[in-house]
């Protein structure tokens, strides 16, 4: 291969060489990190909730006035919702996955508290909760209707029975036999684990205890409630449209907020991951435009070099170089420059990631991304230089004899 003469020629075009290499290096650094952000965000967006998310409608409800207790209102509403055509099941709760607001507390193994607690989200519900959510019970049993109690704002939620997620059970009892064990959510008030569900996530999307959930057989006697409905397949839209009227038909003294009052679970999910999808979109656009601009820059500079060296190319051709020799000369030249750029770029990419790591709590850049970035940029360089190189290879040997 004719690497030595290429290097000698490049020495005469220091500025252009450095500029292309620099551009490739910077592009690699940004593209790697941007693609990594895309990956990180899409990973979050793809997280499952442990629910069967199809055919679920969530209603935010606020009772107006101060009747002393809201339990009768809640029960009448539930009855009305469960008898709606198209509704399979329904329950009332304080929160649900991806709602981005709810309760959490520390679950402990000992009655007197202590420092060994595990953070858990709390969902209240009755014996219909699991079926409505579509959460899968992997051990133990569901609540029975006689176990459902209620509590008010002035009281603490600490029922005798709870259902927990497998993740929480495993963290509380690493030996794996959590079923039937006692845990404490409030000092001195024991709860027995009667069931374990495979998976259910917390309402928030940015916590470090995303799979730690406790379901309590409680109705929260308060003006603010969420009704969750499971509809029959194909009936989701009909229920979505009619549920507000059904509730207002039961009792007008309530508010279903204009914004987010009634939502399908697709809407809940979309709202929860809005920022993540937006960021992934932005970074993808940036990557695309950046690669296009870098490619265009390489085409521009290479064309200039080809134009500048027509005479030399003619001489080489006249001296016996084949078209393919000229083509491979320019391709190799670009490859060498891109290689230098890529080496610098990898260092920049890792440095940039290291910095973002400390500033924005990002994860460490996986090496696959760097590798993909390297291959993409080397390929991009070769693709971009191909047209100018082809033009160079078509320079006729006669050019050698012409003076400009």
């Amino acid at each position: 291969m004719q690497i030595r003469p290429i290097l000698a020629a490049l020495r005469r075009h220091k500025a252009g060489t450095i500029l292309i290499a620099l551009q490739i290096a910077l592009t690699l650094a940004i593209v790697c990190n941007a693609l990594f952000i895309v990956h990180e965000r899409l990973d979050r967006v793809r997280r499952t909730t442990g629910m069967n998310e199809a055919n679920v409608v969530a209603v935010q409800n606020l009772y107006v006035g101060s009747p002393g207790t809201y339990l009768p209102l809640m029960k009448t509403d539930l009855q009305a919702l469960r008898s709606m055509p198209g509704v399979e099941d329904a329950y009332v709760t304080n929160s649900f996955p991806l709602r981005r607001g709810g309760w959490s507390t520390t679950a402990q193994r000992t009655a007197d508290g202590g420092k060994d607690g595990v953070q858990s989200a709390l969902y209240f519900g009755d014996e219909h909760a699991l079926a409505t959510l579509g959460a899968k019970l992997v051990a133990g049993r569901n609540f029975t209707s006689s176990e459902i109690a209620s509590f008010t704002r002035d009281q603490q939620p600490a029922p005798p029975q709870v259902i927990v997620t497998k993740a929480l059970a495993d963290k509380m009892f690493p030996d794996g036999n959590a079923l039937g064990k006692t845990i404490y959510y409030i000092k001195g008030r024991p709860s027995t684990i009667i069931g374990i569900v495979e998976k259910l996530t917390v309402p928030w999307i940015d916590t470090d205890f995303i799979d730690n959930v406790t379901i309590m057989p409680l109705l929260f006697d308060s003006s603010y409630q969420h009704f969750i409905l499971r509809t029959k397949p194909g009936q989701q839209d009909a229920v979505f449209k009619s549920v507000a009227n059904t509730l207002y038909g039961v009792n007008r003294m309530r508010v279903l907020p204009e914004k987010n009052g009634v939502r399908t679970f697709e809407m809940v999910r979309a709202a929860a991951y809005d920022a993540d999808r937006g960021m992934a979109l932005l970074m993808s656009i940036v990557c695309g435009v950046l690669l296009a601009i870098t490619a265009a820059g390489i085409v521009g500079l290479s064309s200039f070099w080809v134009g500048q060296r027509r005479k030399q190319i003619g001489v080489r051709r006249a001296l016996g170089a084949r078209k393919s020799d000229i083509l491979s000369y320019f391709m190799t030249e670009n490859f060498l420059i891109a290689l230098a750029g890529v080496v610098v770029g990898v260092i920049l990419a890792l440095g940039m990631n290291q910095w973002m790591l400390t500033q924005f709590e990002m994860q460490r850049l996986s090496f696959t991304y760097v590798l993909v970035g390297v291959v993409v940029l080397l390929g991009l360089g070769q693709a971009a230089v191909f047209a100018p190189a082809l033009r160079a290879s078509r320079v006729s040997p006669v050019e050698a004899t012409r003076s400009v």
């Binding site: 910077l26 990190n33 409030i186 508010v255 809005d274 932005l282 970074m283 500079l301 064309s303």
Partner: protein, 435 residues
């Protein structure tokens, strides 16, 4: 000479349309990406109350101790005990406590449905302190605060809904069955970031449409609609909650001079020291008194997404610049013979500098115009990337338009420095000889 060089520049741009288009697009895209993300950054990092931001102070007091706080930073809100004690002392020119309440407004007309409204329980000082603009009537008085009066201030949009925009001062409003007398109607007021309630809104939210006196809200046990954080179980009932170390209240003070701020800070430390002596705190006084901008920065209201995207797009602009340097170099050096002739005919290096920098400037103008159009689309599309409550704040105003052009032209001239220097170095003799 300038207009002549401008003409030359424009002609040169036409001579090589592909290269020109590449440069204009690089500048345009780079500037547009930076300006679009900057518009979001600017909106999220701006001063919500510029005329008073350095005399309004948020009060923090560590009632949790080093075990329950991170890096010595006191909790972001106050307990009822501390907030009311500091309020009663009246050590600042103005002071007010706030917490968000969830209330439903019940219209008098029974055929209309109740409405959920954002609301705050606060003090009389809230309105003059934060320069809240009144359309009708006025704020309730400090006397009303002390008498635990049933008074309220409502926003224009709620006044439109309830009273068709008419005079409503003196009329009554029904909040969850409790009647309040309206003392004033304010404009729809929601400074962004919503500095006085960052812990509950993360800084960006629609404002409230009802304000009622804090003392009355506590009497009525109107529940806190914001965050409530306890490190210890408060026990059951409202009275226990008020006695607890749970934090849920924001306290703001207005301290017009540095010396007043200093003496308030001393007072605050004194109060915490008092608590330590009385045995309530087992740690040294740990207090903060931060003005609006410091408070916003400590609370990190600028979303991480906004910072990352601004940085990435600035990187993008740098790459576009490097790209432009390369292309300009190619373009200028291709004209070495022409430069040789000009130099041989007596043009000085300075003339060459002027000619080529002006040429680069024309590219900057074209890139700036393209960038302006793209920024326009970008700002429209901000909603695809950022949540609506933030996206609506990003606007393309005259300042941003001017900035777009200035950045584009400056960037292209900066990019042209090296290629121009190279062009000016062209040796006339060498060029003429080789031809």
């Amino acid at each position: 000479m300038f207009s002549y060089y401008l003409q030359l520049g424009l002609r040169s741009l036409r001579r090589n349309p592909v290269l020109t288009a590449l440069m204009v697009m690089a500048i345009g895209f780079g500037v547009a990406a930076s300006m679009t993300t900057y518009s979001v950054f600017r909106a999220t990092s701006r001063d919500p109350i510029p005329q008073k931001s350095d005399v309004l102070y948020n009060v923090q007091l560590d009632n949790w101790g080093p075990e329950n706080t991170k890096e010595g930073e006191p909790p972001p809100a106050l307990s009822y005990k501390d907030a009311t004690a500091l309020l009663r002392a009246r050590k600042a020119k103005r002071q007010t406590v706030t917490y968000p309440i969830g209330v439903s407004v019940i219209p008098e007309d029974p055929s209309r449905l109740p409405m959920r409204q954002g609301a705050y329980a606060t003090g009389a000082d809230f309105f003059p302190m934060f320069d809240v603009p009144f359309l009708q009537g006025r704020a309730w008085s400090i006397d009303d605060d002390e008498k635990h009066a049933d008074v309220a201030v409502i926003s224009k949009s709620l006044n439109d809904k309830l009273f068709n925009g008419g005079q409503s001062v003196g009329k009554q409003i029904n909040l969850d069955g409790h009647l309040f007398r309206i003392t004033g109607v304010i404009k729809d007021w929601a400074p962004q970031p919503l500095f006085f309630d960052v812990p509950n809104t993360s800084g960006f939210d629609e404002g409230a449409s009802v304000y009622v006196p804090f003392n009355r809200a506590v009497d009525l046990k109107l529940p806190n609609n914001g965050n409530n954080n306890c490190v210890k179980d408060p026990g059951e009932g409202w009275e226990n909650y008020l006695r607890s170390e749970c934090i849920w209240l924001s306290l703001w003070t207005e301290l017009p001079s540095k010396s007043e701020a200093q003496s308030y800070r001393e007072y605050l430390s004194g109060y915490a020291a008092e608590m330590q002596r009385s045995g309530r705190f087992s740690w040294a006084p740990n207090v903060r008194l931060r003005n609006v901008m410091d408070w916003l920065s400590v609370q990190k209201v600028v979303p991480r997404e906004s910072q990352v995207s601004l940085l990435v797009s600035l990187g993008f602009l740098v790459i576009c610049l490097v790209n432009t340097i390369g292309l300009l170099l190619a373009k200028f050096m291709r004209r070495a013979p022409e430069i040789g002739v000009r130099r041989a005919l007596g043009a000085s290096r300075l003339d060459i500098y002027a000619q080529f920098l002006i040429e680069a400037g024309t590219i900057g103008i074209a890139g700036g115009v393209l960038g302006l159009v793209l920024t326009g689309f970008g700002v429209l599309g901000v909603g695809l990337v950022f949540p609506e409550r933030i996206a609506r704040l990003a606007t393309l105003d005259p300042t941003l338009m001017l900035l777009t052009l200035v950045v584009a032209i400056t960037a292209s001239i900066v990019a042209a420095f090296y290629p121009t220097w190279r062009a000016a170095q062209v040796q006339p003799a060498w060029q003429l000889k080789s031809n």
